[in-house]
């Protein structure tokens, strides 16, 4: 297997604080990798650094190619598609246009041609992405008319519509109820099974543990453990650092019960 994403010694400093401290991540082709950790562990900052939204040191390689010097939109163009915790949609565009503007990159000539012909209103990628998050019915609505959870899904669909090499999702399930969250998990898993590589941050331990192939655990900006879900969940360092009081419930999950304690415990 070859690595889609590889970071080495990725670090972000805010003043004197090491928000991300020499993190080495690796996402293999077609793998779903989870990134977990307590609040303030630097998960989102880590995604920001990978996608170029925060100044960082160290190296980010996409398909073996060094993208560290590229700006955010150039990295997006190379295939790093991301979402945000606060959905960050284009409220002036319809839901479908939100996807379209990310999915299509017509040349100057293409733009000129559009001035005379009918504009493109959808592509295969946008329709598939809307279908995947079950929002095809909302295509012509404004994001402002949707609920918070739906807005978040539009953000996920927008990133998917870009057909990225690597999809980086920042808490896509926050704001969804248990049922919806499980549903989303299944859909994401099927996307990965179709060949999509993915890096997922989520508070929903049940979701992360049930669908990820490999999990990295961050604490105070440092990687403290990584491995397959079964290994990580038994790692004493992880239980101590991240789960604390929720450890008991985690044990439940080993017995087959879904654990959602970390979710509530963190907020």
């Amino acid at each position: 297997m070859s690595a889609v994403l590889e970071t080495s010694k990725l670090s972000v400093r805010f003043g004197g604080v090491h928000a991300v401290n020499e993190v080495d991540l690796r996402v293999e082709e077609g793998q779903l990798v989870g990134l977990i950790g307590p609040n303030g562990a630097g998960k989102t900052t880590c995604i920001d650094a990978i996608t170029g939204f925060v100044r960082s040191t160290g190296e980010v390689r996409l398909d073996g190619e060094d993208v560290t010097r590229l700006s955010a939109h150039q990295r997006a163009r190379r295939g790093l598609g991301r979402t945000w915790q606060a959905s960050e949609l284009f409220d002036d565009l319809t839901v479908r246009e939100n996807l379209l503007v990310a999915a299509r990159r017509p040349s100057l000539w293409g733009v000129a041609k559009e001035l005379f012909g009918a504009p493109v209103t959808k592509t295969e990628a946008t329709e598939r992405a809307l279908e995947l998050v079950d929002l095809a019915w909302a295509g012509d609505m404004r994001p402002t008319d949707l609920s918070q959870g739906q807005r978040k899904l539009v953000g996920v669909a927008r990133a998917i519509a870009m057909q990225p090499r690597l999809l980086l999702l920042d808490e896509p399930a926050a704001g969804l109820d248990t049922h919806e969250s499980e549903d989303l998990g299944r859909r994401l898993r099927s996307l990965v099974d179709g060949g999509q590589s993915m890096l997922l941050i989520d508070h929903d331990m049940g979701l992360v543990m049930s669908i990820c192939d490999h999990i990295y655990v961050l604490e105070f900006g440092k990687l403290i453990a990584h491995g397959p879900p079964d290994v990580v969940r038994r790692d004493p360092k992880v239980i101590k650092a991240y789960l604390g009081s929720a450890a008991a419930e985690l044990a439940d999950e080993v017995d087959g019960e879904p654990a959602r304690a970390a979710d509530g415990g963190e907020r």
Binding site: E88, L89, F90, L93, V101, A102, L115, G149, E180, H203
Partner: protein, 665 residues
């Protein structure tokens, strides 16, 4: 050396004036988060008030009673401004507040024009006119008194803000309105007191500085530009720095006056190079923005309101054809004066279109568009006069030069946005106008620079073409047809731009620059292209202006006209092509003002006044403009009809409950 000292001391006068307005700007910004472009306008109002009370225009009072009445008047102006324009916009986007202050400025200017005409008034000085001698230099003593008063006011304000409960409350509110509200402070009361204080400071300067400025409707209002430079150097927070920077700018300006008497100073047709002071103010603004951080100190505000919506045109070709036929016939049938007004309306439409692209689509407010039109107009003139290049090459070069200027301003806009950009472009507009257009070598001075008739393959397309319509008068409908073709093509271009993928990208940038980058949109590229496109449209309008009047002169592209243009574009609907058409119809010398003038005897300055009133009304009631309001009501009717025959509920198809409103972590 003696002369340098003399001029430096003389500069204290205009320095005090700039410092006073700068302090008022800072005061207002800290009090209510508004960058008040009308601050100089308030000085002007008070100046006129005092003059009219003193010199027999309204009354012939003594100095003291006139002064007292003027203070009361200024206070009332401050209260009215706060209640009518600014309080209702407390929670609006910063840009909307800035545009509202523009409306206040237009109303102030237009009302004084209507009341007292455009000639300069002899403002009586209330300060002693003695002369003091310092180091062998004779300096009028009022310069020192003026500076002394401003410094005293500044010290008083610093003390007020530092040591009183009111000052503490204002500082708290300007840091974070939400928590100030939670602490039981009324943002409205604080804002009111600060606005009135600012009005009083600006107003008293307008009366006191009589000896260093002229009383007319342009000089004092435009002092807001150097004052903004000083206020920005103070980051809109420090009274002391604003005061010192204002005095400093005044001294430098005065030294420029001295230097321009020297033999080595560059001249233009025998007069010292014009516009150097305005250029300096612009450079200081740019430097302040870049060195002291592109971002102005922001306030934690209650609600952030978005810019008006940008609806998509459903049909383009059909309305374009109808418009073309109606206007083409009207150009032949209408009497000459209406024909001219129609042509003016179409050119005004093109001008407004450039604002639709840059402000409506990308959310960047640019005051410099009219100056870009002027650049194109003067280029057309100089191409013909200096190089013998005429139609159709000259207008193409003209528009290209406008694009170059627009792209240069776009580059600066990559670092500044929103309100800051409006201030930068205002500085640029004033600098281009005074440094470029007034210069007789580059521009045309006030006399104007001639523009030959457009002609191609021996066919005259100009205003003096052979065919003269039904009444046989100038201007020729042929020229009108050419303007019509250009206008319709540009309207269609802008409408399809909005529908296409580039339009989506512009709106994406307007909505959220961060998310745009994540969606692989090159934000800088989009802004730069948008600036170039809107500069191109402005440039085309400029060449049409040039051919329309047969000459180009500086006053046509001045900053005051530019501000009025923004008011009209906003009132029409800043996000819509139909809004631009409406803006064209109500712009200066266009159809609507002409009809009112001809049939009801309402002169043009009334329309400027209406422009200001409509602008504020639009901001408060219909931020989407007249055209947008039409569009909205049509949409609502359509929605009601659709609701009468409901389709299958969309959520039902998803087979699961629609996601609940989430708790964001």
């Amino acid at each position: 050396m003696r002369e340098i000292l003399l001029f430096a001391l003389l500069g204290l006068g205009s320095g005090a004036l700039i410092a006073g307005i700068a302090v008022a700007i800072v005061l207002m910004y800290r009090g209510s988060g508004i960058i008040n472009l009308a601050t100089g306008g308030i000085s002007m109002l008070s100046g006129y008030c005092f003059w009219s009370l003193r010199e027999g225009e309204i009354a012939s009072m003594g100095t003291v009673p006139a002064l007292l009445v003027t203070l009361v008047f200024t206070l009332l102006v401050g209260v009215a401004m706060e209640l009518v324009a600014f309080r209702p916009l407390r929670n609006a986007a910063p840009l909307a507040k800035l545009v509202a202050s523009l409306g206040v400025l237009l109303i102030a200017q237009a009302s004084m024009l209507l009341a007292f005409g455009s000639t300069q008034k002899p403002q009586p000085s209330i300060l002693p006119s003695d002369v003091v001698t310092i180091f062998d230099v004779n300096v009028p003593v009022d310069r020192f008194i003026l500076v002394g008063i401003i410094i005293a006011i500044t010290i008083g304000l610093v003390a007020l803000y530092r040591y009183t409960r009111f000052g503490l409350a204002t500082r708290a509110a300007s840091e974070n309105e939400v928590s100030a509200l939670l602490a039981g402070l009324s943002a409205n009361q604080l804002s009111m007191v600060n606005t009135v204080l600012a009005a009083l400071v600006a107003g008293s300067i307008g009366v006191l500085a009589a000896s260093v400025t002229q009383l007319d409707t342009v000089s004092l209002p435009l002092q807001v530009v150097p004052a903004l430079a000083a206020a920005l150097l103070a980051r809109l927070t420090s009274f002391a720095i604003a005061c010192a920077a204002g005095i400093g700018i005044g001294i430098i300006n005065s030294l420029i006056d001295y230097l321009s008497t020297q033999s080595w100073w560059p001249t233009d047709h025998g007069v010292p190079m014009p516009g150097t002071k305005e250029l300096l103010a612009f450079l200081i603004i740019v430097a302040a923005m870049f060195l002291r951080g592109a971002r102005l100190p922001s306030r934690g505000e209650l609600v952030e309101q978005r810019l008006p919506e940008v609806p998509k045109a459903t049909k383009i070709l059909q309305p374009a054809i109808i418009l073309t036929i109606v206007c083409a016939v009207a150009l032949v049938v209408l009497p000459y004066d209406f024909r001219q007004a129609l042509i003016n309306s179409m050119i005004g439409t093109v001008m407004a279109l450039s604002l639709v692209v840059i402000t409506g689509f990308v959310g960047q407010i640019s005051v410099v568009q009219l100056a870009l039109a002027g650049v194109a107009g003067f280029t057309v003139s100089h191409m013909a006069v200096d190089f013998g290049i005429e139609f159709p090459l000259a207008p193409i070069i003209g528009a290209a030069v406008a694009v170059l200027f627009g792209a240069a301003i776009g580059v600066s806009a990559l670092r500044v946005r929103g309100v800051s950009l409006a201030v930068v472009t205002l500085g640029a507009a004033v600098a281009i106008s005074n440094f470029g257009f007034v210069n007789r070598t580059w521009g045309g001075g006030d006399t104007g620079s001639p523009v030959p008739q457009p002609e191609i393959f021996g066919i005259d397309l100009g205003t003096e073409a052979g065919f003269r319509g039904i009444d046989g008068n100038l201007p020729s409908p042929v020229f009108g047809w050419m303007v019509l073709v250009v206008t319709v093509l540009l309207c269609m271009f802008v409408a399809s731009l909005r529908r296409g993928s580039f339009g989506q990208r512009m709106l994406a940038v307007r909505s959220n620059e961060r998310a745009s980058a994540a969606a692989a949109i090159d934000v800088r590229h989009v802004k730069l292209v948008a600036f170039s496109v809107s500069a191109f449209i402005a440039g085309v309008a400029g060449t049409l202006y040039a051919y329309n009047f047969g000459s180009v002169s500086a006053d046509r592209f001045g900053p005051v006209t530019a501000l009025a243009l923004i008011a009209f574009a906003y009132a029409g609907g800043i996000t819509l092509v139909s809004g631009a058409i409406f803006a064209g119809l109500i712009s200066t010398q266009a159809l609507l003002p002409h009809m009112l003038d001809k049939w009801l005897g309402i002169e043009g300055n009334w329309f400027l006044l209406f422009g200001g009133v409509i602008l504020i009304f639009t901001l408060l009631q219909h931020p989407e403009g007249v055209a947008g309001a039409f569009y909205k009501s049509r949409e609502q009717r359509r929605a009601r009809r659709a609701a009468a025959a409901p389709p299958a509920p969309p959520a039902a198809s998803s087979g699961r409950p629609v996601a609940t409103v989430g708790v964001d972590s």
